[in-house]
Amino acid sequence: MFGRHKPLWGKKTRLKSSYDAVIIGGGLHGLATAYFLARDHDLTNVAVIEKRYIGFGGGGRNTAIVRANQRTSQNVPLYKEALALWPVLTRELDYNLMFFNCGNLNLMHSEAAMNAARMNVATAQFHGVESHLIDAKQCKELIPALNISDDITYPILGAMYHPPGGIVRHDAVVWGLAKGAARHGVHIHQQTAVTGIGVANGQIVSVETDRGKIHTPRVLLAAGGYSAAISYHMLGIKLPISVLTIQAMVTQPLKPILNHVVSSGTYHAYANQTLKGEIATGAHMDPWPNYTTQTTAYYIKHQAEALAEMLPCLRGVKFMRHWAGLADMTPDMAPIMDGNAPLKGYFMNCGWGYFGFKSCAAAGKYMARFMATGNCPDMLKPFTLRRFAQHRLMGETAALMSYSPDN
């Protein structure tokens, strides 16, 4: 991966002593921002600094699900645009992102949940995102393997059905964006750790790395789960973030049995069948902040119990791989995208929790505009860091359960 061989995205580049912008983090958001900086704003003297290898973090660890049926009016347009960008990027990057718009079903197990879903569906329809409320029988018609009997712990009453959602091959997105950015002249430096951020008179002036100092007027913090620690350790800026581990696993490959993404907040489980035939499934999070990516038997058991009730045909199927990643959770489950505050030239794009994959294309596009022009696009204004002091939290909480000490 780091040897003499040519990287996938082009020739190896030397670390220069100065760039117009430095992006900390070679993940989905960093690479997407670099790509759009070069594509839309002619800002090509850009470096993406990655401590390990591109896609090491959430970019390669998520469960590849994309959707645009979020809860609040501020969030939905962003995810809607991100969803519309997959086919566009596939063409532009000349890289098969394997977008499979199989549709998502969010199962509901109580009348209260059905009512919450009605509100979600109304929000989606208001913003022109296709989303329907369906009953248990319709769920069964879409997913014949689903158990809609009432002899399980949480019987299924219905679902929020979101046909345009689906899955995208996450590694392909990382590699495609890296290739696209490099083609425009962006430098990608793997195995390069940021050790400090230089500030003079309230303005970003440099980034220190273990391979030397880089002079730059702009820095984007897009280090996923590591962003909050970098922000505090290097700049003393505290963020409203808790970093939790989220686990996922895949079963042995099976013949096609599940042609939708199915999720349940009550069971804390979501599952989809990958194009390789494995059932990829994820759980909720280990409820303590940490920077390990430890996996636990606790969640293998939890997933097995949930899947055996919802999709009983999976009983006896073996799990094959199990991994974990970091999710940087904010109190309102919405990201922090801000810039030129509190330092001039300092931009941040973090706090995505487990929504970072779905949103990366649109977030990168608008963060690039913000960094190039210095003006915050309207799309990003609600995501300011100041909303926490202004007590204007967004309430994206209908997604799942509480994950931080805040709720």
């Binding site: 590591y226 505290k238 963020l239 970093v243 409820p287 303590w288 940490n290 002091a389 007590h391």
Partner: protein, 86 residues
Amino acid sequence: MALTLTCPICGQRNGYEFRYGGEEKGPRPDEEGLSPEDWCDYVHLNKCVAGIQKEWWFHRDGCGAWFTTQRDTTVNLEVEQPEAQL
């Protein structure tokens, strides 16, 4: 190794019995003359230390005690050393 925590009443127990209660941030600020920024700092902002941090825990599936302890967030283990100073 999985997380265990030492409850002052029940002793060392499985981490899944507990609920995390946030970073130790000192006493609740006085409401007199409190600015929104200072309140936000106390309520929402975290250091997210990569290292040893002092934090609150609640023994939810046990005796119900609230207590503080130190944990190294880079290995997810309870430790006796004091919180990292930055």
